[in-house]
Symmetry: C3
Subunit: 134 residues, 3 copies
């Protein structure tokens, strides 16, 4: 089964999509299998991070924002603004695809794991994540 | 087939799990297919690295330890100690899931490739890696 | 179906392999499924990046080359030259495997996405990418 999720991202940062992915898995009625996510963009990405304490995601975002300096004068890909090139770099350092086993009809996530679409642009976007369940 | 590996990590660093994954693949009796690994934690991760010369892994770990400064005063997620937030960052920069084709009943790894569970915390942990073979 | 692509990399940088992967998917005659790529090396990697404007890839490469200093005096894995250890680090920060859904017999890539084999060594190499279609 393949389904495409559309996610409205209002701002830069991690947007949790665990419930949306869980629904897609439930709809596929697969007891044991594999769920693969693929983001169809190069300035947004996927990550699995702690879903309990938001300070972990806050610090992760802050750290990555400091690692990739948007005012780097050596960037040439700047037509769409100073957040464009850092977005491509952050996407390359995180994940375009992720695979999660399905056990007993549910995603085999660890206790503290959530699935996040990571918007790297500062303005709102509509992002597409393709979900394959097999 | 889905199987969960439990790995005792005595210390920070890369723990080779190639033989454990190879056994799971052998047990699944699949001639051609795909083996997917998923780590159920956000402060440990997966990586495929050189299994011949340990100096490559030593240098990789040292480099990543210098990239992510545990004494960064901007970290707020510090309740579990100074290695907690760097662990989440290192996990986000490496892999939560990995997929390796199976050919002739064996993992199609390159000559110098080993599969590693990368423990990012400094204290020992029991880590769970879910193996899906399809 | 499993097929192995051999790619001659003449120099450091991203080499587009989208057409080669598309041919493998076409040959597998799968309408809906999953294509997984696996690179059999630890000093080359896979990435999905913008295929329209080459300046995005140029800036991404430049940024990563600045992040990982080949003259770092703390590197010990230096027998093969100053580009050896940075290659392992860059491979660890990007992807060894990637999975892309197949919809209507074609890779479900976004409009601006291309698949790249990223050669991290400076000299030419023959690289092997295993393609699994299921």
């Amino acid at each position: 089964m393949v389904r495409t999720l559309q996610i409205q991202t209002g701002h830069q940062g991690m947007h949790e999509i665990t419930p949306l992915v869980g629904e897609a898995v439930h709809g596929a009625r697969v007891r044991e299998g594999l769920c693969t996510l693929f983001v169809q963009h190069t300035s947004a990405s996927l990550t699995i991070q702690e879903n309990a304490d938001p300070s972990a995601r806050h610090d992760l975002e802050g750290w990555l924002n400091r690692l990739v300096d948007p005012s780097d004068p050596r960037f040439t890909h700047t037509a769409e603004g100073p957040d464009d090139m850092p977005s491509h770099i952050k996407a390359a350092l995180t994940s375009t695809s992720l695979s999660i086993p399905i056990v007993d009809g549910r995603l085999a996530l660890g206790t503290w794991q959530g699935i996040y679409l990571w918007e790297h642009r500062t303005s709102p976007h509509t992002r597409r994540v393709v979900v394959h369940v097999g």
